[in-house]
């Protein structure tokens, strides 16, 4: 009997396997050794099977199974137990109202969490192992007849072609299977929340669960889907609609606000009301740098603070980010390095970028803000528009596994607007999104009942 201490449940091994093995009648034992099949009948372990070569055997051992070697035959016994953490709400995606379960590092538990939410037998899972040295288990999860079989096949093929030493996080897979790996925008949506992944599955998307990481990937996605938060569906729809509009406005702001500020301040001062212009001019009198340099300095400082805030322990990090930003900003203004309007602009941009629900979608924005700022500092509003055009060309040419990245804005699909621009009440959402492959009609359509009269 071979097993790896720490990966196996030694209690179960002792109780069930050793006890039953030790109480086998010696005559039956002979028979058992000679027989060719059904040899597991003496061992009360549900998941067990034969092992035919050393490679598989070692793989089973490292996976936490126990190996039973009897003369020239081997069996693996699934008595795995290793320490996992509790199911808690993921820190990066909290909600006020809604389920608070998040994925953990064990793939089996993760898939089980999904099954608890979606109990239909049409929920299918296919597993494979990736990584020469890590042999990480990766599972594709999808709902049959809702997900596009072409996409499933593409994903499966691409995953199988991955030849890498080890897979430690699902992001490794992400970079391998993407359609456009050079784009700064993510084409799969990573999430740690079970309800987010489950709702994606219900919309006909595919989930990839990776062992040893709580981050589950869903694909295909669109840019508007990255701006949706699970809370939109748990709060009332009027409020959610307003919040969605705010989020879209802030998303655009977080990319364009510094560029807009620079281009108006340096090229088009006639647009500003005279009083405001005078205040800003007064504020800038003592500043030695041109506006573009000011903005770049402040942006760089802000990004540095953000990065620093992540590394520090939670209690300290919080204080550093908020207080640090304000204090440093104030100090810089008093020292005459930057002017106070810049602090406001950069702070508001930072806040706007925090409202993007998916952290992954916030990253390209942080990156793209800089070239946009530079080009608008050179050419003004014309430059900013050119930069935005280039950005939109890029966004419009990306497809995430066959789905246009900017759908439903381009190409326009008015049917999908009810979940992107507004959040229609559930009794109005009687059509599945167009990304779904199968039957577009939800069944049944339930409206408020007739006797619920106001």
């Amino acid at each position: 009997m071979a097993y790896v201490d720490g990966l196996t449940n030694t209690e179960e091994l002792d109780e069930n396997v050793l006890r039953s093995l030790m109480s086998i009648d010696p005559k039956e034992a002979e028979e058992w050794i000679q027989a060719d099949e059904h040899q597991e009948r003496f061992i009360p372990i549900s998941s067990s099977g034969p092992v035919n070569n050393w490679q598989d055997g070692l793989l089973h051992l490292s996976g936490g199974h126990a190996l039973l070697l009897v003369q020239d035959k081997g069996f693996f016994l699934s008595v795995t137990r290793f320490e996992t953490r509790q199911i808690v709400e993921p820190e990066t995606e909290p909600v006020i109202r809604g389920p608070k379960d998040g994925f953990i590092e064990s793939m089996r538990i993760n898939t089980a969490l999904l099954r608890r939410k979606i109990r239909t037998p049409r929920l299918k899972m296919k597993t494979l192992q990736i990584g020469r040295l890590t042999a990480t288990s990766v599972t594709i999860v999808y709902i049959q007849d809702l997900a596009d079989p072409k996409v499933i096949q593409t994903v499966w093929d691409r995953l199988q072609q991955i030849d890498i030493d080890g897979v430690l996080e699902s992001s490794y897979l992400e970079e391998f299977i993407e359609d456009h790996p050079y784009s700064p925008f993510p084409q799969v949506k990573p999430s740690e929340r079970v309800d987010v992944v489950a709702s994606s599955l219900l919309q006909g998307r595919i989930a990839i669960v990776t062992d040893n990481t709580p981050v589950v990937l869903t694909l295909p996605i669109t840019l508007p889907s990255l701006l949706q938060s699970p809370e939109d569906y748990y709060e009332r729809y009027t409020f959610s609609t307003a919040v969605r509009w705010l989020r879209i406005a802030l998303f655009i702001c977080s990319i364009t606000l510094p560029s807009l500020y620079i281009s108006i301040m340096t090229f088009h001062q006639e647009m500003i009301p005279t009083q405001l212009l005078n205040s800003i001019a007064s504020a800038r009198e003592a500043i030695p740098f041109p506006t573009l340099i000011e903005v770049l300095i402040m942006e760089a400082a802000f990004e540095s603070l953000r990065e620093a805030g992540i590394r520090l322990p939670k209690q300290v990090g919080f204080a550093v980010t908020i207080v640090g930003a304000l204090v440093i900003g104030e100090a810089a203004v008093s020292a005459g390095i930057i002017s106070s309007p810049i602090v406001i602009v950069v702070a508001f941009t930072g806040i706007a970028s925090f409202t993007v629900p998916r952290f992954a979608a916030g990253l390209p924005i942080r990156l793209l803000r800089f070239p946009l700022t530079v080009i608008s500092g050179i050419f003004g509003l014309v430059g900013m528009m050119i930069g935005l055009i280039v950005l939109c060309i890029h966004l419009c040419s990306i497809k995430s596994f066959g789905v246009n990245y900017m759908s439903p804005f381009a190409p326009i699909r008015t049917g999908d607007f009810k979940d992107v621009i507004v959040r229609a009440p559930w009794w109005k959402m009687n059509q599945r999104p167009s990304t779904v492959h199968g039957n577009p009609n939800r069944q049944p359509v339930s409206k408020p009942s007739a006797d619920r009269k106001e």
């Binding site: 050419f379 050119i386 060309i393 804005f409 381009a410």
Partner: protein, 361 residues
Amino acid sequence: MEQGRISDGQVAYLLYVTVIATSILIMPSIAGQQAGRDFWLSAIIAAVFGFWGIFIALSLNKLYPGLHPFEMFEQLLGSYLGKLLGIVYLFFFLHANALFIRQYAEFVITVFLPKTPVPAIIGLMAAVCALAVRGGIEVLARTAQLFLPISLIVWFGLLLITIPDWEFQNILPILEFGALPSLKGGFLLQTWYGEFIMLAFLIPFLSSGKHIKKYSLWALVGVIITFVLISFSSLLIFGIETTNFIYPFFEVIRYINVGSFFENIDALPLAFWILTIYLKISVFHYAMVYGTAHLLKLSDYRSLSLPLSLLLAATGLWIVPNTQKLIDFFSSVSPTYFTCFNTLLPSIVLLAAWIQRKVKG
């Protein structure tokens, strides 16, 4: 060669933006030179050229379904003459596009950036259009669907704000000198209405042409409404002075003054205008690149996009030495020149194709 397919609605967007982009700024002053106060009537009268362009494109499509116009030329006139006609059209696209990009650059420099050298502005726009064409017709159509609604909302929202300043009596007297001036003005507007013939160059890429008639007519109606609104806004605010401005729409926007904090915002809607001008130049550039690749029998047109855009930028710098010549061109030569390629030649081709079909039995 082009795998991308666009929908009928997207074609309507592209048609609309192609016609509107350059005309929205100077249309009232061009038509007003001949029509005086009645240039808004010219806008309605000239729509007939738009109808004709759509009619030609759709009829040609019925006779040669799914074919690119260059392929039609070859089928109609034989390989040699057909290719020749195609080359002539390519030069037309290059020239017209260079005019548009120059117009854009002149406007931007006059209003926004007086000291910036012209090559920088032209070069930036040409590079961006090259990028768009490289992505293919689908990317072009999708960016159109992204940019056009926003631009329209901004412009018409701002026009709405100007309504309190409209003095309706400025429209009188109507037809002061009879109908002839507005007809003359309408003739000048052909430069833009005739561009509806670009439909013929977009039809080969439709995914399904079922609603194309409906949508292209909607595009035409949209153009008419836009022209009339623009005309009204500048006429009713400025009266006959409108014809003295070079860029009347711009002046209307500059006149907006809400509560003394929302004034002089001309830079903002004109920044959105850059989005539409990019679309127009890209559409023409796409026609040119695709046509060139077709004539040279290449397997992919994308690699031509950047070099041809360099040519476009250079041509844009060479064609006219200053703004006056450009405006003069649009007032005098362009109606005839554009009519020749937008209306006359396609009409002849249609006639010839129809005759050929009849003869063949």
